[in-house]
């Protein structure tokens, strides 16, 4: 019984560490977040549109992405999609950053800082 309790404590602690690590990975620093938001809006936006409603590339809105597995979207961001115009963005971001971008895309992507200012 005592053994069981200490095992549970270990598990809980480990889970806690994992959660902290995951948050640390999933949340790039604020300045970097702004860079990533700008990159998605402007550079991904040259094919997918600044508003992400699509252009030569498909729309990246929550409604379009909702049935797609996040892991495969992350793989597409990092490695591109052969046979299409989608390039891999691995030279410009880490896998954790791609995960952060995909998670934000699936929620509805934040606007760039400049747009926020101008809408004030």
């Amino acid at each position: 019984m005592a053994v069981d309790r200490s095992l549970w404590v270990h598990v809980v602690v480990l889970l806690g560490v994992a959660a902290v690590a995951a948050t640390a990975h999933a949340e790039p620093a604020t300045a970097r977040q702004q860079e990533l938001v700008n990159m998605v809006r402007q550079d991904c936006g040259s094919c997918h549109g600044l508003t992400l409603q699509g252009g030569l590339g498909p729309a990246l809105l929550p409604a379009v992405l909702k049935d797609k597995p996040a892991e495969s979207l992350v793989a597409t961001v990092m490695m591109g999609r052969p046979g299409t115009a989608m390039p891999g963005w691995a030279p410009f971001m880490s896998e954790q950053e791609a995960e952060w971008i995909v998670a934000r895309l699936m929620q509805g992507f934040p606007p760039v800082a400049q747009q926020l200012e101008s809408s004030k």
Binding site: Q42, S46, L50, L56, G80, A85, Q114, S118
Partner: protein
């Protein structure tokens, strides 16, 4: 007497109102617009004194925008990503008319006779012709290349004979539509190649070229002899070499024909291709700093200016056309999106999106003549486009 006084009063009121609303007489030949991408506005500018004259907001989503001009060069037709088509009066800096004509649009062009404005659309795929005066829909040509299948339209260009030429991304075709009878356009289709991403017409309106993303090569249609069909030129220009990932599609609009040679962006490589236009074969390649987006000849053809895709989009390079060497490398700011020459090429205006500025360079000395503030500027379009085929 009373009536006469009243009449005089009304007349002077009218004159006063006239004074308040009508700016001093001026021509539009040195005017233009700068797109402010993030805020959906255009700045009206003039390039004789290099100044901004005012701003016109309310143009919708201009994240990808194109501007073409009325035949009299007074009105700018602004095409927005959201399908908005807006007619802006350069002189009063007001919106004359605005329609939402599609769900997703990338540009348009004015007919040879100046009576039609034709929009090219991604969604719904096809082209639509509007009365240039009223913006009423005249006719449309859906890009239905197979039953129920519609293609995105790219590279639309006006050409002589009331015709428009354009390419279909998914269909891999070039279509030529004749609007001689504006309500009943006639379309001829030509197979072109895999995934045409943009097109351009030579300044004389004779040759239409579509750049292909899905294969190494360029589709060429001679509009003097369309019956001969599309010819593939520069076939396999990257043979045996792996293409680099493309972070931004090149734009072919803004032709670069100089001294009998065409200068074109190589897709997926850090090169500008030089093509001999007598034989349509490769004459040379010029190594440049990144993947070219716009490759534009100064109007006299002596220089070609090049900007680049992410992540090299802070640079502009200048190629001397006789020696085919890069003679100048400039850093006009963060995210250089577009360049526009003055009509005779003494100066060039360059937009830097992330530095919120437009820089005016002297093209002979490369000195900065002026910098103008602008909010996330992208395209710069001067009114002399009104008089040119394929703009």
């Amino acid at each position: 007497m009373m009536g006469r006084m009243l009449g005089a009063g009304v007349l002077s009121l009218g004159l006063l109102a006239g004074c308040a609303q009508t700016p001093a007489l001026r021509g539009t030949g040195d005017m233009g617009v700068v797109i402010e991408r993030a805020t959906g506005a255009v700045q009206v500018v003039e390039h004789s004194g290099r100044t901004s004259l005012g701003s016109v907001p309310g143009l919708g989503d201009l994240s990808h925008a194109h501007v073409t001009y009325s035949r009299d060069a007074r009105y700018a037709f602004v095409f927005g990503r959201d399908g908005g088509l807006t007619k802006v009066d350069l002189l009063t800096q007001r919106i004359v008319k605005r329609v939402i004509q599609a769900g997703n649009s990338i540009g348009g062009s004015v007919s040879q006779d100046g009576r039609l404005v034709v929009a090219q659309n991604y969604q719904p795929g096809g082209i639509k012709a509007f009365d240039a005066e009223t913006l009423e829909l005249v006719s449309e040509v859906p890009a239905e290349y197979a039953p129920g299948q519609f293609s995105k339209v790219v590279g639309l260009a006006d050409v002589p004979g009331q015709k428009f030429v354009y390419a279909l991304f998914e269909a891999g075709e070039i279509w030529v539509t004749d609007f001689t009878d504006p309500r009943q356009p006639k379309t001829t289709r030509y197979p072109a190649g895999k995934q045409p991403y943009d097109g351009l017409v030579t300044p004389d309106g004779r040759y239409f070229m579509a750049g292909l993303f899905g294969e190494d090569g360029i589709a060429l249609l001679d509009l003097w002899h369309p019956e001969k069909g599309v010819r593939k030129i520069l076939d396999g220009y990257g043979r045996g070499e792996e293409k680099l990932p493309v972070y931004k599609m090149p734009h072919l609009r803004g032709w670069a024909m100089a001294g009998g040679f065409a200068f074109l962006p190589a897709i997926g490589r850090h090169e500008v291709l030089v093509v001999d236009t007598r034989t349509w074969t490769e004459a040379a390649r010029v190594a440049v700093k990144g993947q070219p987006v716009f490759v534009m000849a100064r109007p006299d053809g002596r220089q070609v200016w090049v900007n680049f895709a992410f992540p090299d989009n802070g640079w502009v390079q200048v190629i001397d056309t006789p020696t085919r060497e890069v003679v100048k490398t400039l850093a006009p700011g963060k995210a250089v999106l577009h360049m526009e020459f003055t009509p005779r090429g003494d100066e060039v205006w360059v937009s830097a999106r992330d530095d919120n500025k437009v820089t005016v360079f002297d093209t002979a000395s490369f000195e900065v003549r002026q910098t103008l503030p602008a909010t996330a500027p992208s395209g710069i379009f001067f009114s002399h486009r009104a008089a040119r085929i394929g703009f």
